[in-house]
Amino acid sequence: MFLVNYIKEVFGAIKSLATGMRRTGYYFTHHKEIITQQYPDNRDTLQLPERFRGEVVMIHDENNEHACTGCTACELACPNATIKIVTKFDVDEETGKKKKAIDTFVYHLELCTFCNLCIEACPTGAIKMDQTFEHSVFDRSKLTKKLNHDGSKIRAGVE
């Protein structure tokens, strides 16, 4: 009895090894099924989906105008204190009234977890996620960014 079981086991083992080796042989002869990509070489063909969360950017139009009112809703929504909004008061040329506007929109990329909560919170759609993904730099301070462009101002009509 022992001998029969032993021989059964040996044949069972050979069969199971052959099954595994058949898979190996299959992939050896079907190169098309291999799906690895060479990372830096695929940049031209790489297509990231439009919802991809790369980094937060502020949308500017061709007149260098944005839609940010400086309401700080995004700053409050952010769990990591990634956003800091510095506001100033603009004086309206026609009426002479003071109006709140952003001076600097500070964004700490090194703190951001790409949770999208700031984008969801913004009432005017002034910020969005960009598709960039190579964020490594040599100096940490380079990751602190100013999102509003120099000389930009708020688009007329955005409240």
Partner: protein, 387 residues
Amino acid sequence: MYRQTEILQDATQVSPLNGGGDLEGAGDLIINVGPQHPSTHGVLHLVITLNGETIKKVEPHLGYIHRSIEKMCESLTFRQFIYVTSKMDYLSSHINNHGCCLCVEKGLQIEVPERAQVIRVLMDELTRLASHQLWWGALGMDVGALTPFFHAFRERELINDIFEETCGTRLTMNYMVPGGVMADLHPNFQRRVHEFIKQFKLKIDEYDELLTDNIIFKNRMQGVGVLSAADAVSYGCTGPVARGSNVVCDIRKLYPYEVYNKLQFDEVIETGGDCYARYMVRMKEMRQSLSIIEQLIDQVPEGEFQAKTKAVLKLPKGEYYSRVETARGEFGVYIVSEGGTTPYRIKFRSPGFSNLSALDHMARGGKIGDLIAIMGSLDLVIPDIDR
């Protein structure tokens, strides 16, 4: 000069390996596995007491990746704290977020639209598949087969691409928000899920060929790390670990949430209690998840994907608990609210911690080589154990 400790000297003198002494007389050898050992899948530190090759005691040491998430959540609002939970069990981040959303919705009595419920279940099951695939590959690697790892990642990549398209990220999505989901399904979602199902149905048989029926793998898993049903219950094991020991514990069946009570699927139960039984539970669960996805993917109802909620959420004073079934077991969220915008106290019941506590019991008396197989079959995710 290399300084020999007392313990090492003791063991080298009488170890049966170098011809000295028998096993009874051998001194105990204490070795550290981890915190940077590749087979612990993270910063788990095990202090193992050995007698020869036999394990006398396994002592897990935690704390290397403690981030104090529960305390941190107390300073975050009810919208913000959800994203942190994706950083606990990062392989079931959708399901973790789901549990938190359920708890907040319970407190606020928000009715989640049907479409959002279906999307959530779809995402949960895709996450479970992705998690089990990674576990399958990693387990193969633990017991010495490298090929499964590449096969598993090939299919997991498809799921990650689906997530990336709809949720924006691949691992820590933060896609579920109180009241529904953050964004509607991507127009390509259905097509890509169908493609994935088609491919995975072929490949899961390949998984079986490579590992399930392999004689070497079977010999390493069968009869190793046996956990009886009574022990599984007393250690508080949940998920595939308990179901491999013949314990009925699937939250999706016992306490159905969202649309799970309308779905046709079986709770997978194995009676063996050994590593192979746990392995089989997960393999069969993958097929169950596939069938759940198939049932839902063409039935996503039209409508809103998010219920209308206030901008600032304030949970009424009270205590709330909700539970979901992650890929590793029961995940519970317990919130105490004082009526403010932030939780007064939060406690997470993570499945990994309880499952890990049974490791010592399972490994005792076994060989040190089996410890790695047992750990692999527990499917540990360290940030989940050590929050």
